[in-house]
């Protein structure tokens, strides 16, 4: 539409714009008075109605059959917009890639599927260890599941140890959802974070992160999941976290070779910052 108008008027020295009109103002005023009559006096409504009618008809005639337009002359040449000109600024360039700048970083990332696979592998490893604990110590497959879902279900949170060893549909459902959700999320996180710490992904993803996570939970588990907090065997817990970390980290790092700057600063690997030309490293 704009382009047509442009084509139509090129070189004519004026540009057509919608012409000013009082009718919208009158219509709006009438409409307001129409409502104001409800709280003042019916006569106000009537006046409003008449105004609205006039405004509406005026507006109608303004746009039908063809909307009125006026031709606005172009401003004097001296007052017209100047063309945007190249600026002398230099733009710092990047070392990466052939084109210089503006790429999305880092250049090689794990596909999302790596994170999902890693999460699944880690989740299986973790669940296997937790179930092993349940069978060995409490002779129950359901015990670890119920303890996990006690984070969200008060009836399980207040249950006795014997009750926790029993099967609970609610517990199984919530437990599986929570476990799958966390496994996938953490797996994805590994896939995006590991390239930022490329030197020893196995140690970081497999050992450091699970231990940090365990430590963090140790401080707040009493509120997040009091039932688990009372009964937790920290050794087994940390072991299952490690199992997750090692399995997920292993699967993720095997998906594809990590291709990122091995000697660059963290911010560069995180994709927050780029290395400048002048440093000329590597």
């Amino acid at each position: 539409m704009a382009a047509e108008r442009e084509a139509k008027h090129a070189g004519e020295g004026g540009i057509e714009l919608p012409s000013p009109t009082p009718w919208p103002l009158l219509a709006a005023f009438g409409m307001t008075l129409g409502f104001a009559g409800l709280v003042t006096h019916p006569i106000v409504s009537m006046v409003g109605g008449v105004c609205f009618l006039f405004g509406g008809v005026g507006w109608w005639r303004e746009v039908l059959p063809v909307a009125h337009e006026i031709e606005v002359p172009l401003a004097a040449p001296a007052r017209r917009a100047r063309l945007v000109e190249p600026v002398p600024e230099t733009v710092d360039h990047l070392e990466l890639g052939e084109g210089g700048h503006r790429m999305r970083l880092p250049t090689h990332v794990f596909p999302l599927s790596a994170g999902i696979r890693g999460g699944i592998a880690g989740g299986i490893a973790m669940a296997a260890l937790a179930e092993l604990y349940g069978l060995l110590v409490h002779q129950s497959l359901w015990y670890p599941v119920n303890l996990l879902s006690a984070a969200a279900i008060p009836s399980l949170a207040n249950a006795s140890t014997e009750q926790l060893a029993q099967f609970s549909t609610e517990g199984l459902l919530v437990g599986v959802i929570v476990h799958v959700l966390f496994s996938l999320l953490v797996g994805l996180l590994y896939a995006v974070m590991l390239p930022m710490f490329p030197r020893h992904p196995a140690i970081l993803g497999g050992i450091v992160a699970p231990l940090l996570w365990t430590g963090l939970l140790w401080t707040s588990l009493g509120v997040i999941n009091p039932a688990l907090n009372e009964r937790i065997a920290w050794g087994w817990f940390a072991a299952s976290q490690l199992a997750f970390g090692l399995a997920a980290g292993f699967v993720v790092s095997k998906m594809e070779r990590i291709a990122t700057l091995q000697s660059a600063a963290f911010a560069i690997r995180a994709g927050l910052e780029l290395q400048y030309d002048e440093e000329g490293k590597e």
């Binding site: 733009v91 970083l105 880092p106 006690a150 008060p154 959700l181 966390f182 509120v223 780029l274």
Partner: protein, 343 residues
């Protein structure tokens, strides 16, 4: 900056005023939700501390990052004609700062979901004391169906001891507009809504007086709809119940006042045991003098204040539903003399 200043003030006032002073305090009590004395309030406090810790951590990290960025990447003299490298984004870091918040949110959500369902008790336990709370503009009515007691503005409940647990279970109703029952040290608030029956429970081992007030805007005197909850030891509570159930002593010397009371429009709105008065629009006056305040907490319940109140309630509590009864001074005195015998 404001937060820091406020935190300092909070600590100062918290230390200075948090504990109820000895003697029977009037208004001097800070209803600090971080000093709970009741089971639900304590559970909320625990959860709140977790949330505060997480949020505090996030604030420090993000705020620190913003500050660091501002200092580290400020334009410096000589930068005017140099543009930094143009970076569009990074799928990795963007994914990371999407996933990490999701994990935090899920953890918070699980703990929240459990606490919600723990606290939202719908059925009262066997041992519970049940009280019906009725919100009026602008006062509270408390009915104890178990004992046949009706009182106003000052709720009396027993403490719950480990060997005889006795939670208090409140049924919340309103006869006019929406109110909200809130005593921060005992429990979170629950709205009191007409044509709806809400519930709230509390269980405390610590006798004392706990202040609160209506927390849902309910019109002119929303500010003066105070709640006073007295927690008694089980023995004290039993004694209080007995006193409330006992008939009023008929004092002969105030027969004139009682007569006048029964002949004026007072009885259209107020009830008083032992008289024909059975109105329900205003607070019951039975055992009036066992209450510490009048007008839902606008003043202490002294004969002087009562006199001023009856003479012109609109001065003490502008907008209150009780009109100025245009009584002569001696009539007011007679009625006050009668009222102070309602013990």
């Amino acid at each position: 900056m404001g937060l820091l200043a406020g935190a300092a003030v909070l600590c100062a006032t918290g230390v200075a005023m948090a504990e109820p002073t000895t003697g029977r305090p009037v208004f001097d009590q800070v209803s600090n939700m971080f000093q709970p004395v009741s089971v639900p309030a304590a559970k909320i406090r625990d959860l709140a501390l977790l949330v505060l810790a997480i949020c505090g951590g996030i604030f420090v990290v993000v705020g620190g990052l913003i500050a660091y960025t501002l200092i580290r990447f400020r334009a410096r003299p000589g930068d005017e004609h140099r543009e930094p490298p143009q970076v569009y984004g990074s799928s990795n870091i963007e994914a990371a700062w999407t996933i990490v918040p999701v994990i935090i949110v899920v953890v918070l959500f699980l703990a929240t979901a459990r606490t919600i369902n723990e606290l939202e008790l719908k059925e009262p336990p066997e041992s519970a004391l049940q009280v019906t709370v009725v919100g009026h503009r602008w006062w509270w009515e408390f009915q104890y169906p178990e004992y046949g007691i009706v009182t106003a503005n000052e709720l009396h409940v027993p403490a719950s001891t480990p060997d005889a647990p006795r939670p208090t279970f409140l049924w919340l109703e309103s006869v006019d507009v929406a109110h909200s029952f809130w005593v921060p040290r005992l429990a979170g608030k629950t709205d009191v809504i007409p044509n709806r029956r809400n519930t709230l429970w509390l269980e405390t081992a610590q006798p004392g007086l706990y202040l609160g007030q209506c927390a849902e805007y309910c019109g002119t005197q929303h500010a003066h709809m105070l709640l006073r909850v007295y927690v008694h030891t089980p023995e004290d509570f039993a004694r209080w119940v007995e006193e409330q159930k006992a008939p009023e002593a008929e004092v002969a010397s105030v027969a004139a006042g009682r007569d006048l009371f029964q002949r004026t429009a007072c009885i259209n709105c107020h009830a008083a045991s032992g008289t024909v008065a059975d109105g329900t629009f205003g607070p019951s006056l039975s055992h009036l003098m066992s209450r510490e305040t009048i007008g839902a907490g606008v003043a202490m319940n002294t004969p002087d204040n009562l006199r001023a109140w009856i003479r012109d309630p609109q001065t003490m509590k502008p907008g209150v539903r009780m009109p100025d009864m245009k009584l002569a001074d001696h009539e007011v005195d007679a009625i006050v003399d009668y009222l102070v015998t309602l013990r």
